[in-house]
Symmetry: C3
Subunit: 193 residues, 3 copies
């Protein structure tokens, strides 16, 4: 690559400080808003936790409930770039990847959630992932994710999600992939014919 | 395997929604209950975090304080199944695994905790683990955990704990296991004679 | 090694119980203090999360904002020991490690945070890390971290940070390190001449 990549600072990600993690000096109503802010942070963490659980277990029904209908997706890997908009397109892309031939292992670590209002939030996550595709393809690496969340009809949803790699290794394995347990072999999407 | 595995949905796990992550519209007493719910979630996360720390560091004394006396355990791996009841049996099983010949690396990621009452909760976790057993045996994989927790005498305890694998690889390594640091060599349980 | 290592108990780490995760029976002011305690826990988690993000992305400017000027550091690996005091020395050490020749992957898991007062806290973390240094050096392992945090001028800072390894493998790889994505190649510190 001849071009220098952008620095993955909070500024580049468009992540500003959220509402401060300081209890209000006000009365009961102000404390209620503080409690709601803590509950919103927890709800957003659980939303993203469910996302990682659902992709690796090919739980496409539950996965569909986590995204805004107009979700914007932009992921940059070493040799791939996913850029798309809309829940339907995103789900279709995920189904193409998480097939019966795949083993997915995606963990989102170290959440840094910023609440900006009663219905708007952002977050940074540190992805570590392994992905095997039969017969012998393996990818591993990390990435920084940055997301925007919105609350609609009482539920937090993923509105925008982006990542760029910190590192990535891809290789063809010398030996085949022979897991002693392989959940997606039963429940992954059917691979393209 | 001729049988198709069950789908690891929340329904299969028996995980229902907990009390909502919405602040009460009530007064001081209602807000106190909301705060307690957030504190209970934190206490349960720390309980499970201590569990993973204690198994990998063979801290059996602290580990014993984390389980209900009648804890129910059911873990399904690729080639093994642990099903047992009672803290004493569980501790004995763990001591058989985390010996001076072992290196354990077990991390519980992405907690999704549901509070059902002042003393009952459930949770889903995403396990990623590596385990080496000398001279040359290695297992790695992931699993979904689902737990039930109870609060007794002011302390949250693990009442039921189950997992099933998403994937697992087991292999005999070509070379011996020669770590540059190996805590369990000093502090693991004595291996069976 | 002829010496037996110390057991990594909470007692050895100097970690005592924090303020209890029990809502106060008092009125509005007492509940405000409870809420602040929950917010402090979240702020400390985000502080440490930012630390791991910033080292692996060589974001030294943001990293500098996370430490107390007199931060005490003591890390014990298999073949190395870092013991130093002061933010400037710590940052200099980190810059020597996270160069354009390095790939760092450090995740802090399973936080157990104890709040001791409005401005003092401790925490245990479970580190899992991989580090590649070109041309072919690789280290992987886990460690238990234990930290002290202080709040000064409204911000939580890392005041003391220690770790000891649970396991560590170091090896020279047979093949060179050829990532398909390598952020630090662009943004790591210049390696020593």
């Amino acid at each position: 690559m001849s071009e220098t990549r952008a620095r993955l600072t909070r500024e580049y990600m468009g992540i500003s400080d959220g509402l401060p993690l300081e209890a209000s000096s006000g009365g009961v109503d102000a404390l209620r808003a503080d409690i709601q802010r803590l509950m919103d942070m927890e709800a957003i963490r659980q939303l993203k936790h469910a996302y990682f659980r659902c992709i690796d277990s090919a739980n496409f029904e539950e996965l569909a409930t986590l995204f805004h209908p107009d979700v914007l997706v932009h992921f940059k890997g070493g040799n791939y770039e996913w850029k798309l908009q809309g829940r339907d397109d995103y789900l279709e892309s995920i189904q193409k990847s998480f097939t019966k031939n795949a083993i997915g292992h995606h963990n989102g670590h170290q959440p840094e959630i910023q609440i900006h209002s009663e219905s708007e939030a952002t977050g940074i996550w540190y992805l570590a992932d392994n992905m095997w595709i039969k017969p012998n393809f393996f990818t591993t690496g990390t990435a920084l994710y940055w997301d925007r969340y919105v609350k609609e009809a009482g539920r937090w949803l993923i509105r925008e999600t982006r990542y760029e790699r910190l590192y990535e290794f891809m290789r063809a394995l010398d030996e085949g992939i022979t897991p002693s347990s392989h959940y997606l072999a039963d429940h992954g999407a059917d691979p393209p014919a």
